[in-house]
């Protein structure tokens, strides 16, 4: 049981594919990061899993079922936290639980557990507008996790945060992943982040977007200090070179 792309192509305008012929298998519980130059269709890839866009060819299969549209078995968080500004933190997290399947009591317990997991219990009654960027992103992730999705999709979630907050959030999301065992697919333009978090790093090529490299990464440790080791830096440099090459090719293609 896993997340599978079967010959997936996607074109917003006919004849100009953003993604072409993607075949990919992501086993449950994996932390996959996706990097690539602009125009490589990173975000489109996530959008297809979320069911917000449909492939023009092929299909995305989750646990043996073709993805036909959005659903709570795939949680998603974007770079802009996109919280409901009129709802408190707790009410934001509860949004997906406000259906018949959950009693008041069950909802309250679930929200309390999620807020504890993301470390925002004391902010439960606040409006999102009064939180920092990092806190807002935690709410957004807690909200996406409410219905225990099989896959958590993260579209450059820390891209707008300052460096210190970003590193806190990297440790945070890894902890969440360990605690919950959910599959995480994360798009980022930050190669360091991709190599630090991903146990598997996909490098996408552009024009049309396709998987250029599929790398296994085993960092020699857990903490942020790993980022300074020679081993880490070497992998990071290697991935950066790949992305840069694709970026140049994309520019050349755009000019031609």
């Amino acid at each position: 049981m896993s997340l599978r792309f079967e010959g997936v192509s996607m074109a917003y305008t006919p004849g100009v594919p953003v993604l072409e012929d993607i075949d990919l298998e992501i086993p449950p519980g994996e932390f996959v990061t996706i990097v690539g130059a602009s125009g490589s269709g990173k975000s489109t890839l996530l959008s297809l899993v979320a069911g917000l866009t449909r492939p023009t060819k092929g299909r995305v299969v989750l646990d043996g079922r073709t993805v036909e549209g959005p659903g709570p078995d795939r949680g998603m968080a974007f770079q802009s936290p996109s919280l409901y500004p009129w709802r408190t933190v707790a009410q934001n997290v509860a949004f997906a639980l406000e259906t018949r399947g959950f009693s008041r009591q069950a909802r309250r317990e679930r929200v309390a557990w999620l807020l504890d997991e993301v470390g925002l219990t004391e902010h439960a009654g606040k409006l999102p507008g009064s939180l920092s960027g990092g806190q807002q992103q935690r709410v957004s992730i807690a909200r996406a996790l409410a219905r225990s999705p099989k896959v958590l999709l993260l579209d450059e979630p820390f891209g707008a945060l300052d460096v210190q907050t970003k590193e806190d959030m990297q440790l945070f999301i890894r902890q969440v992943w360990r605690d919950l065992g959910t599959t995480v697919v994360m798009v980022t333009h930050d190669v360091e982040e991709a190599v630090f978090l991903g146990r598997r790093v996909l490098v996408l090529a552009s024009d049309p977007g396709r998987v250029a490299r599929d790398l296994r990464v085993e960092p020699p440790g857990d903490g942020l200090e790993v980022k300074r080791t020679a081993e880490f830096l070497a992998v990071r440099a290697q991935v950066e070179d790949l992305v840069r090459r694709e970026h140049r090719a994309h520019l050349a293609a755009a000019r031609a």
Binding site: A50, G51, L52, G69, P70, G71, P72, R74, G75, M76, F78, S80, S82, Y84, P85, W86, F95, A96, E98, T99, L127, G129, S140, R143, A144, A146, R147, L153
Partner: protein, 275 residues
């Protein structure tokens, strides 16, 4: 060798002088002084001019005369009846306009086909001045209540529909996407996301259009009515009672202000999150 040591940075002696730009504010005290002056100065000028005898009383009554006219009308019960008649018409006309325009605007802002279907016709209709419909409305509906309420509806409904549609359309795409990934269907997104997000903007539009409705009711009563503040003004005109006209104008202004302030308070309560 790179060093992280650095000499201490000296504090600037005084804050840099602020550049004068447009939209720079004034202090709270100055603002209040100006606010009071904004009303007090014209009032003082009125009193001075009317007391000086330059203008005949018949054209420009002095404030004490106007006050006397006001207490007269208040004591006889005329003022109360006229006020209730006018407010009743606004309640009915404006209420009906809301019942039509808010759902219609919501539809135009959310459903693909509604916009191209309704926008062109409403775009044309809203530029027809409502007061120009008065003769037609009297021919169609007579001089009773119906034609006055119809005038209010005509004057408000088109603007309010388009303004509502604009507000509804401004809900960020991302918020709708997120809601879909959280398992919400179209109806739930409309009720739980689009509506609360739009509510402050809808109230803003209502506040603007309440002023329009309020203006129109007086216009309608000037032309054909047997009650209402506008009717009282035309009657006073017949007997050259400018002091009564002044009193009613002031009442109209104060009631209008009350409506505006009330809607403002509601708006800031509802839209606390968007402030």
């Amino acid at each position: 060798m790179v060093s992280v040591e650095s000499p201490p940075v000296e504090r600037a002696a005084s804050p840099a002088p602020r550049v004068r730009l447009l939209k720079t504010g004034v202090s709270r005290r100055t603002a209040w002084v100006l606010r009071i002056a904004s009303v007090a100065v014209p009032f003082a000028v009125w009193w001075a001019v009317s007391g000086s005898g330059v203008v005949p009383d018949r054209f420009l009554p002095a404030p004490p005369q106007v006050w006397a006219a006001f207490t007269d009308m208040a004591a006889s019960g005329d003022l109360r009846n006229d006020l209730l008649a006018s407010l009743g018409r606004i309640g009915a006309g404006f209420g009906l306009a809301i019942l039509v325009s808010v759902p219609l605007g919501f539809l135009m802002g959310t459903v693909g086909w509604a916009q191209p279907l309704f926008e062109p016709i409403i775009g044309i209709l809203r530029y027809l001045p409502a007061s120009a419909f008065i003769p037609l409305l009297i021919i169609w509906l007579g001089i009773g209540e119906t034609s006055k309420i119809a005038l209010l509806v005509l004057g408000v409904v088109f603007f309010n529909t388009l303004m509502t549609a604009d507000v509804v359309r401004q809900v960020p795409r991302r918020l709708l996407d997120v809601s879909a990934t959280l398992g919400a269907g179209r109806a739930r997104v409309a009720a739980r996301v689009v509506f609360p997000h739009s509510l402050p903007g809808i109230l803003d539009a209502l506040r603007v259009n309440a002023a329009v409705a309020y203006n129109l009711v007086v216009v309608a009563e000037l032309i054909a009515a047997t009650s209402g503040l506008g009717y009282r003004i035309t009657r006073a005109q017949r007997f050259l009672q400018t002091d009564k006209i002044f009193a009613i104008l002031i009442v109209i202004g104060l009631i209008g202000l009350t409506i505006d302030v009330t809607l403002r308070v509601v708006r800031s309560r509802v839209g606390r999150w968007s402030a």
